[in-house]
Every structure is written in structure tokens, then in C-alpha cells.
Amino acid sequence: MTRALPTPPTPERRQLWRSRLYRWDSKGTPYAFVAPFFVVFAAFGLFPLLYTGWLSLHQVSLYHVNQARWVGLGNYRDLFTGAPSRFFWNALRNTVTLGALSTVPQLAMAIGLAHLLNYRLRARGFLRTALLAPYATSVAAATLAFALIFSPEGGMANWFIHLFGFGRVDWEAGRWSSQFAIATIVTWRWTGYNALIYLAAMQAVPGELYEAAAIDGASRLRQFWHVTVPALRPTILFTVVISTIGATQLFGEPFLFGGQSGHQGGADNQYETLGVLMYDQGFHNSMLGRASAVAWTMFALLLLLGLVNALIARRLRRSQ
């Protein structure tokens, strides 16, 4: 192609060479620029995704990963109806309840806080930064701090509710109390983050809408419900999707909240999520095939959620 250039380049030749180089540059460069993403994703994203699917049809030990034994849909059958199904359905239920306990209050408080942050405020920068500080805290550090607060022996939570005349709660042992405590960690970490997202969307709402509503005699609360919330619908949907995906994969908080029994989601698996179940099956019980089946079940669940979400989004658009 451009290999043959034995004679010293004449001006015309140099011109030709340059235009060729230019064409090659403008044609090839875009692919060179996007290639790193696709190469890394193919190697560490797509390939593992498919490999997980293949592994889920095998029995594989953590210690002999080369000796995979074909079991077909056996792992899925075990998970749904066999001996471990008790753990699977329990984890699925916990994922749903923990997800609801952490997502709903988190988003409701976030939208309220965003509404307040949208007023003319002093110290706005400080308030925003303070609300976002939990976002900069790691799952590990935050969970350890809350595990101490909710500690059944001398924890601050029990001392606090005792001030109001309530008795001691064993935050770790009960199904609802432990899930409430874990949901508190998630809510603490993400409320400010979501509030800022809502705030940004609120600032894009045209002021005339509020003026018109005010002229019609709408109170501030009515303005919030009839102007702000409808205008924020796409953003609300976005945060619901993101939070739901996050909740489906919940792992670090339940894992670390339980200390010694964290890998199984509490002594009675009372807060074992699907994410924790996958870890427990794969990296604690050494059954990588079954862990892969849990992972693919989670994937299917997320796809289902995505589908439901797309349907809702379409309905919302139609109703507008």
C-alpha cells in the first residue's frame, strides 16, 4: 500500500502521501478512539457475562475451577425447588423488602429536601456539601459506624429510643429490625445524592409555570404537587430505576452489618440478599456454578425490571 516509497519524494508525491495519511487518519481514528472501551468491555464485561451463563450450567468448585462438571439446569432447579431453595426464596424476599425499605424513604426525603434547597437560602453551598458528604463515605466505613450505633450491647440507637420510653431492640437478630437498620445505612448514604439530582431537575422548571399557578391561587404545597412533581417525572423515573438496580445488588451493607455471620446475611439469614447469597454460595461454600445461577437469576430480574420500567415510561409519555 504505502510501503513503496524508494525514491526521494517529489512535491507531488509528498502531497499524495499527505492526503493518503489524512484519509487514513480520518477514517481510522474514530475506531482507534472507541476501541479501548470495547476491548476492555469485551474482555472484562461481556466475556464474563457469557461465561457466568455457561458456568451456571456446571458444577464448579472454588478450588478446582478447571474441573467443571455439566449439570444442565440443575443449579437453577436446586435454587428454585431443591434444598437451597429455602435460602433463595428467602434472599429474594429480603432483597425486595430491603429494597423497598431503603428506596422509598430515600427518594421521598430526597425530593422534599431538594424542594427546600431550591428556596433562596443562606449557606446553600455548605448545606449541599453536607448533604452529599455521606456519598463520599465507603460502604465499609459507613456500615461499621452504623453497626456500632445499632449494636445491641450499649449501642447508641437503643440508648436514644430509651430516652423516649421504648425498650431495648435487638437490631441484629430480628428480621424487620435488622432490615430497618440496614435500610438506614443505604438511605443515609444516598439521600443527599438523589436530592441533588432532583434539585438540578427542579432548577430547569420554567419559573413562569409557578407564576401562573400562583396567579391561579395555588398554595406552595399545591404548586409542589401540581407543577414540580409532574415536571420532575422523567427524573423521578430515572432515580427509581437507578435505586432499584442498586437495591437489587445490595451486598456490602448486609455483608458487613452482620460481622461474623455477615456472609450468610445474619445468623438466621434474616437479611440475606441475593447479592450476599451469591457470595455465600460461591466464595464461602465453594459452589461457583450455583453462585453463577444466582447471578443470572439476578440478571433476569433486572431485565424484567427494565421491561416494566420501559412500559411505565411509555404510559407516562402517552398520558402527558
Binding site: 456539601t129 456500632l148 438540578a200 445488588q249 460461591g282 440478571f299
Partner: protein, 281 residues
């Protein structure tokens, strides 16, 4: 133009609620400091301590030397190395790919961009088992590259940069540079990078925070490592037999401080970045 709601001044109730929310956000961090400065007995006593005690440096020094096998020093270094590499890779590759998707014409652009967006939805959980096997076969088990390589690019980064450059980068400027005979690399260096700098800073900070705080994959890839990252070292403190909460909280404090420092220094930009990414996302 009057922005929504801004015309109203905040009343005392608004301030009260916001200050309360800010306190609730900051209290667990303060509590970490307080607990880290007490001792095993005082930290779980009733009423709980609310002001720092005298043992902060004793506890810090203990975890600094004993946490996670070799102490928190190497762990901090490891986390810094991982988060910096991941941030550098993500920012550079995202600018290049974002620029290509925003401003260059090439066959298959739409399909490829669609693929990028689709990969946003693939959860990390799905790939940890094969990644674990893969890393072991590559001989990367317990090595830092096992943590760096899989997250060297993110779909979010590419998407974020594309959205930014579509608007911020004038096409005329590119054409002018082209007419002057600049090749693609020169265009990137002299035109794209200066304009993308604010977005690069935001993406860099978001990526650093995320990489530093990543938990699931490090705990699997580095489980039992004698030389772990901060999060793995913290997890070791939390799930170990030790129940001296004051020492555990000293570890949590060390693990949180560097990031909070970054946050205090660049909080404004991070706040801006999250709102920016959200409106466009």
C-alpha cells in the same frame, strides 16, 4: 429569568429541616471520630460518649500497624494506586471515545453508541465469578491489576463525555483545525482536551470516589490477601474476632479521611458534576 421557587425566601422551618438533615448527614462521620478516640469499654457504654476522648492516637497507631495484615499504610497506598490508575484510564479513554461519538462521523457509530448505553445496565455482580477464575488463571489473584483492569473504562464515562462534548465543542473549531492541517492527535491535544477539562475534572473525581469505595469485587479478588486495599482491610476489621469497636472505628476513620479530604477540597465541583450528569442523563 426567575428560577423555579428561588423567588421565595426560605422560612425558619425550611432552615430547621435542612440543618437537621445536614446534621443527620454529618453525625455518623463525627461519631466515627468520637468512637475512634475512646476505648473498648467506653465506646459501648450508656449514655454513649458524645465528645472525643483521649485515645485517638493510640487507636490510630494500633490499626495503622495491625489492620489487614500489614497495617493501613500499605492499604492506603494500594487504594490510592488503584483509584488513580482507574481514574486516569477512565478519563483518558472516555475523552477519546466521547469525542469520537460526539463529533466524528464513522460507519456503525449509532450501533456502537447504543452498545455503550446498553452496557450501562449490566451489573458488576454478574461477572465476579468468571472474573475471579480469569484473574486466577492470569496469575493476577491478589494483585492490584486484578482490581484496575476490569474498571479501566466505564460506559458512564463515555456517555458523560459524549454528552458534554456534543454541546461544549464547536464543530467549526474542529473544522478550522482540520483546515490548518492538524491530524487527529493534534486536534485532541490542542482543541478537545482544553475544552473538555472541566468535564474531565468532574468525571475524574466521581470515578476516584467510586473506585476508592468499590467493595464487592475487591473483597472477592483480594480475599485473604496480605496486602489488601483499604475497603478489604476495613472489612477484615469488621468481620474479624476483634470486638474492640474503638479500634475498628479508628480504621474506619483512616479509610474515610482521604476521601473526605478530597471531598472538602473539591466538593463544589462534585456537587456540580452530579447535577450536571443527572440533568443530561
Amino acid at each position: 429569568m426567575a428560577r423555579a421557587g428561588r423567588t421565595h425566601h426560605a422560612g425558619p422551618v425550611t432552615y430547621a429541616v435542612l440543618v437537621l438533615a445536614a446534621l443527620a448527614s454529618l453525625f455518623p462521620l463525627y461519631w466515627t471520630l468520637v468512637a475512634a478516640s475512646t476505648d473498648a469499654h467506653r465506646v459501648v457504654s450508656s449514655p454513649p460518649p458524645l465528645v472525643p476522648g483521649a485515645n485517638l492516637f493510640k487507636n490510630l497507631s494500633y490499626v495503622w500497624h495491625h489492620a489487614g495484615g500489614r497495617g493501613m499504610g500499605p492499604a492506603l497506598l494500594n487504594s490510592t494506586l488503584v483509584a488513580s490508575s482507574v481514574t486516569l484510564g477512565t478519563v483518558v479513554f472516555s475523552v477519546l471515545a466521547g469525542f469520537a461519538f460526539a463529533k466524528l462521523r464513522f460507519a456503525g457509530r449509532g450501533v456502537l453508541m447504543g452498545l455503550v448505553v446498553a452496557t450501562l445496565a449490566v451489573p458488576a455482580q454478574l461477572s465476579v465469578v468468571p472474573l475471579f477464575i480469569l484473574m486466577r488463571q492470569l496469575g493476577w489473584g491478589n494483585h492490584l491489576q486484578a482490581l484496575i483492569m476490569p474498571t479501566l473504562v466505564t460506559a458512564f464515562g463515555v456517555f458523560f463525555m459524549r454528552q458534554y462534548l456534543v454541546q461544549a465543542l464547536p464543530t467549526e473549531l474542529l473544522e478550522a483545525a482540520r483546515t490548518d492541517g492538524a491530524n487527529s492527535l493534534r486536534v485532541v491535544w490542542h482543541v478537545v482536551l482544553p475544552i473538555a477539562r472541566p468535564a474531565m475534572a468532574v468525571l475524574g473525581m466521581l470515578t476516584f470516589v467510586q473506585s476508592w469505595n468499590d467493595f464487592l469485587w475487591p473483597i472477592i479478588a483480594m480475599n485473604g490477601a496480605t496486602n489488601p486495599t483499604v475497603q478489604v482491610a476495613l472489612a477484615g476489621l469488621g468481620t474479624g474476632w476483634s470486638t474492640d469497636w474503638s479500634v475498628i472505628m479508628a480504621g474506619a476513620l483512616i479509610g474515610t479521611l482521604p476521601l473526605l479530604l478530597v471531598f472538602v477540597l473539591f466538593g463544589r465541583q462534585i456537587v456540580g458534576g452530579i447535577t450536571q450528569g443527572a440533568v443530561k442523563g
